[in-house]
């Protein structure tokens, strides 16, 4: 219920929202949790394993219970914490993990069966028989367990990611963080202040303390205004720093508050010279019997709801604690006019801070209320007493938020005075810790620590900071350990994964004594809250059960992210067209206009084929295009091939070193095929290289390996042969280059070239400068089809019109454009290799090119290519394949077996890399690799494709099926 006169948003506008279809009214500035409590909704979810009724435990991102699902359809977003979800008009949230409804949950039967569902239950029960696991157990468990559900549809919400840089990153904007940011910023440092809340101020917004004579929250707001006015400060509210990584890099998740096209979330990579962790501390529960009923909350959360949002989570509140701090909850409630039944303090010597009933040495040993607390049992020196209460504010002390300091394998240090772990110095290079995160528990100590830490950091960075620390309360923090309370009923530790004290003891009993083993055996701390409120208590219980101290027991490993990060945020920008850059050729639009389906080749888009009216299958188009090239002339955009300009006095020597064959002997205005090996003797890439001048070459690479080859050339030049004076630059983008292939190719070119060519001036493998309508370009007489063919290149700005003209001329001669399908058929007919063949595991020997590896010179891969194992006759070597029955087909990826042998791995003789239907020869063709292949010409082998269920008897043949002596290409 609301408490009049309380709350920083007490005058805010009303906001209507729904929860499980029921309408409610909250206030602007509320979280969903605050608004639900204001409407007396206490039951908000069901637990993970036992489906126990659960309410709101905390007022922050550590919340284990109050998880809701937002949105519908593809936008459905599960496991949103009601405690951080800002209320807006029309918000519609649903509870989760309850079926058919929150109040009546059939699966709560799990709770009745709980004696069988102990820790390790899944491991023990579902181990045998194996077949039952998939068929029976898993589906049942999947249905019964689990948090919210995903929609299963592609999410269309917008996410974003971004980079930020600063001198000082301050993590957390409570009293310490504000002082740290102010101090560093006023000294001149570029500061980022990130805080996960929508309103900065941290605990100052949840407490009634004064700072420098002002109400804490007002002081905080004033400081934030001051920071906002500074140009060197970037405030990042709603931003949780999720991880600390190497060299001052941090991940941070921002919940973006925007409208329209605004992203839901932004994932930030923040790079900071120094960082100051001011993440505060998290209050921990006490494990007493049935401590999980709705209405049992953290004492600090009760204060937060009261002081920040003007909400009393109950009509009659009882406090149960082992420390002084929780007494403030009673004080604040009484000041606000809320009834406080008692403060139960486990310590004998605790002193009251106000006018309330204090039960010293008391323990809460039982609770009642199925869907919400209505009574507690208190055991104290005077006996056992029952107290009617609908809200119990508990506090087992505070855990400094050490998480980020452990992200690079650091371990926190146990502090006996605080009964908690505190950060160990130096675990994250460049990070300092201040405030409650460092174990400074009073308001004054936090302010001072923030300012002082920032002074040290700013001084290190070369600034001259001044710290001006306001006055504030400085009550010492007093605590005595209390981890668990004996009594009948389960004493819950991990509320989200339903782990209780007995589970931990069972783990210890079964010898899962290491904290990491206990964690995995019980699932303690493995839910989405990662045990923020429960881990330390669980360790204490384990320490007790194993007879060790807490420091010896140690902690589990804290890993990023600190809060759950949606995959959508991490993959931001990569949906749809953002997935990968699209590289378009200059002929792209003309190809699309002609109806060509475009296929991806790396990042490039290339036309598959150019359908003509009346054609109903791709094969018809492909066959026609092959026919163009074999009989008239075809045009194909080959601009996607990598082109590298290589110049310098040592250019030829450099090529001799990177290619296995020789280029220094290549004449000017001539082209040569080159094979490039990796240093391990396997083939890296192939292509042609043209010599345009004494010291000037243009290398082509395959489309796929262009980037890899460039990187390789840079490696060779810088690391292995810095003695060679050579420079290279990619010119792939500068040129639009088209294959003009077929018997009428020269005729076509001569209709366009300013100076016609003939056989004598431009023989096979010639190259040089040409001009078309006065535009200079290059012409290469090379062929990937086996026909009399050329590649013509003009600067890319002329690409679109050159393509149009070439295709128009080709059509006039009875030919036309051809795509990737026809290109593939043409090269298979000729036995020309692509990366289907040179797939990384083949050598020059395997493709029959071993004589190309010059023995006269050193070159990359030369020595290793001569290793005996790489020249073994039994290696799988390239062959051609054709079906014995010309009507049968071949499939790529199929394996080859001796006819009659079982088609099993042990009998594998080789495999098929490329297949096509050859319209020229009228049957299927394939290229593949076969053991001792070159010596098995004419032999029959069985092609077996287990995946597509194909078996075809094939004849092994020479890989060059068409025009074996190459007469057509030479003209």
């Amino acid at each position: 219920m609301r408490v009049s006169g309380k709350g920083q948003n007490q005058n805010a506008a009303p906001v209507s929202f729904t929860f499980d279809g029921q309408s409610y009214v909250g206030r602007q500035g509320d979280t969903l949790a605050a608004a639900l409590l204001a409407n007396d909704v206490r039951l908000v979810g069901r637990s993970f394993k036992y489906h126990r009724p659960r309410g709101i435990l905390t007022a922050g991102s550590e919340e284990p219970n109050a998880l809701v699902t937002m949105g519908d359809g593809a936008s459905q977003d599960p496991n949103i914490r009601a405690t951080t979800l800002e209320l807006y008009d029309g918000l519609a949230a649903r509870s989760q993990n309850a079926w058919p409804s929150l109040k009546f949950d059939v699966m709560a039967i799990n709770d009745m069966m709980s004696p069988f569902l102990s820790a390790g239950f899944y491991y023990k029960t579902f181990m045998w028989p194996k077949s039952f696991w998939e068929a029976v157990y898993e589906p049942i468990i999947r249905r019964a367990a689990g948090l919210g559900a995903l929609s299963g549809k592609a999410n269309e919400d917008i996410y974003e990611k971004a980079f930020a840089h600063c001198d000082v990153l301050v993590i957390g904007a409570g009293p310490a963080g504000i002082m740290a940011a102010l101090t560093a910023a006023k000294a001149g440092a570029d500061v980022i202040l990130a805080d996960e809340d929508s309103v900065m101020g941290g605990r100052l917004n949840a407490e009634t303390y004064n700072v420098g004579g002002h109400v804490g929250a007002d002081w905080a707001a004033a400081q934030i205004e001051q920071l906002k006015a500074l140009k060197n400060v970037r405030l990042m509210p709603r931003t949780t720093v999720t991880g600390a990584y190497d060299d001052g890099t941090f991940g941070a998740l921002e919940r973006v508050a925007g409208s329209g096209d605004a992203p839901l979330e932004c994932f930030w990579r923040i790079v900071a010279k120094r960082s100051i962790l001011c993440a505060g501390a998290l209050e921990r529960p006490i494990a007493f019997p049935n401590n999980d009923r709705p209405g049992i909350m953290m004492a600090s959360a009760v204060r937060a709801y009261l002081n920040r949002w003007g909400v009393a989570p109950g009509a009659t509140v009882t406090v149960f604690a082992n420390n002084d701090d929780a007494h403030q909850t009673a004080v604040d409630l009484i000041d606000a006019g809320v009834n406080v039944a008692a403060v139960v303090d486990s310590r004998e010597a605790a002193k009251p801070r106000g006018e309330y009933r204090l039960i010293n040495g008391g323990l809460v040993t039982g609770t009642k209320g199925r869907h919400g607390l209505n009574q507690i049992t208190v055991t104290h020196a005077g006996g056992i007493e029952e107290i009617e209460t609908d809200c119990l504010a508990m506090s087992g002390g505070w855990n400094p938020t050490v998480h980020l300091t452990c992200h690079m394998n650091g371990r926190p240090t146990w502090n006996d005075d605080l009964q908690s772990f505190v950060p160990t110095d130096g675990t994250i290079p460049g990070m300092s810790v201040a405030g409650a995160a460092a174990g400074h528990m009073s308001n004054a100590a936090c302010l001072k620590s923030g300012a002082q830490t920032a002074c040290v950091v700013a001084t290190d960075l070369g600034f001259s900071p001044n710290a001006d620390v306001p006055s504030a309360e400085d009550t010492p923090y007093q605590i005595e350990p209390l981890w668990q309370v004996d009594g009948k009923g389960r004493k819950w530790l991990d509320f989200q994964n339903d782990v209780h004290v007995k589970d931990i003891k069972l783990a210890a009993q079964e010898n899962f004594r290491s904290v990491e083993h206990m964690k995995r055996y019980t699932t303690q701390g493995m839910a989405t809250d990662q045990g923020k409120s429960s881990n330390v208590s669980a360790l204490a219980v384990l320490a007790d059960a194993t007879g060790r101290g807490i420091p010896e027991t140690g902690t589990t490993t804290f890993r990023p992210p600190y809060v759950p990060v949606s995959i959508g945020a991490m993959g931001a920008g990569s949906q749809g067209n953002g997935f990968a850059p699209q590289r378009l050729t200059t002929s792209h639009h003309a190809s699309v206009d002609r109806g060509a389906p475009m296929i991806e080749a790396g990042l490039w888009y290339r036309p598959s084929y150019f359908p003509k009216q009346g054609e109903t299958t791709w094969l018809q188009s492909c066959n026609r295009e092959v026919d163009y090239v074999r009989n008239t002339v075809g045009i194909c955009d080959v601009s996607t091939l990598g082109k590298i300009d290589i110049q310098g006095p040592d250019a030829a020597a450099f090529l001799d070193f990177v290619y296995c064959n020789t280029f220094s002997s290549l004449k000017e205005n001539r082209v040569r095929y080159g094979l490039m090996l990796r240093e391990d003797g396997h083939v890296m890439d192939d292509g042609t290289t043209a010599r345009l001048g004494p010291n000037h070459f243009v290398m082509t690479t395959t489309t796929a390996a262009a980037g890899q080859v460039m990187t390789h050339l840079e490696w060779v030049s810088q690391a292995l042969r810095p003695d060679l004076n050579v420079r290279f630059a990619s010119v792939t983008e500068q040129w639009a280059q088209f294959a003009v292939a077929g018997p009428k190719s020269r005729e076509l070119l001569n209709s366009m070239l300013d100076d016609p060519i003939d056989e004598e001036s431009w023989p096979f493998m010639a190259c040089g400068e040409i001009s078309i309508s006065g535009v200079s370009g290059r012409l290469f007489r090379i062929s990937f089809s086996g026909e009399h063919a050329y590649e013509v290149a003009l600067p890319a700005r002329f690409g679109a019109s050159l393509f149009r003209q070439l295709v128009a001329q080709a059509e006039a001669l009875g030919g036309g454009a051809y795509g990737m399908e026809a290109l593939n058929v043409l090269r298979i007919e000729k036995g020309f290799i692509t990366h289907a063949e040179i797939h990384g595991r083949v050598t020059a020997f395997d493709i029959g090119f071993d004589r190309m590896v010059s023995q006269k010179k050193d070159c990359i891969g030369n020595a290793a290519s001569r290793r005996p194992g790489l020249l073994d006759i039994q290696r799988e070597q390239m062959i051609g394949l054709k079906p014995v029955d010309p009507n049968e087909s071949l499939t790529a990826g199929a394996h080859l077996f001796v006819e009659g042998a079982d088609a099993v791995a042990a009998n594998d003789q080789g495999y098929v890399t490329s297949v096509c239907h050859s319209p020229t020869l009228g049957h299927a063709l394939g290229l593949g690799f076969l053991k001792d292949g070159p010596n098995r010409m004419g032999e029959h082998v069985m092609l077996v494709d287990h995946v597509r269920d194909v078996r075809t008897l094939c004849e092994v043949c020479h890989p060059v099926f068409f025009d074996p002596d190459g007469g057509r290409a030479r003209g």
């Binding site: 690079m408 240093e679 290793a864």
Partner: protein, 87 residues
């Protein structure tokens, strides 16, 4: 992780391509023998502590770098060009 490229300055690791141990700089002679080539191509120490690795500033200046870093602490102590700038 961030590396300080001697040419471009401090950059995020996403700009760099990792090759492997800096032993690859010590390329044997062509006729050094199988054992030497086998070592060069395949055998690597997997030491806990300081290592020298080759990185390429692929999205930056294109320089190949020798990065000395500690596999236990992740501390990068040196980042130098494989090629001394002779021009």
């Amino acid at each position: 992780m961030r590396l300080t490229c001697p040419i471009c300055g401090e950059r995020d690791r996403r700009e760099f391509y990792y090759k492997g141990d800096a032993i690859e700089l010590d390329r044997p002679n062509q006729d050094a023998g199988l054992a030497a080539w086998d070592d060069y191509l395949h055998n690597r120490d997997n030491s806990a502590g300081e290592i020298r690795d080759l990185w390429h500033h692929a999205a930056g200046c294109g320089a190949w770098l020798i990065v000395t870093r500690n596999t236990l602490t992740h501390a990068v102590s040196r980042c130098e060009l494989v090629e001394k700038d002779t021009r």
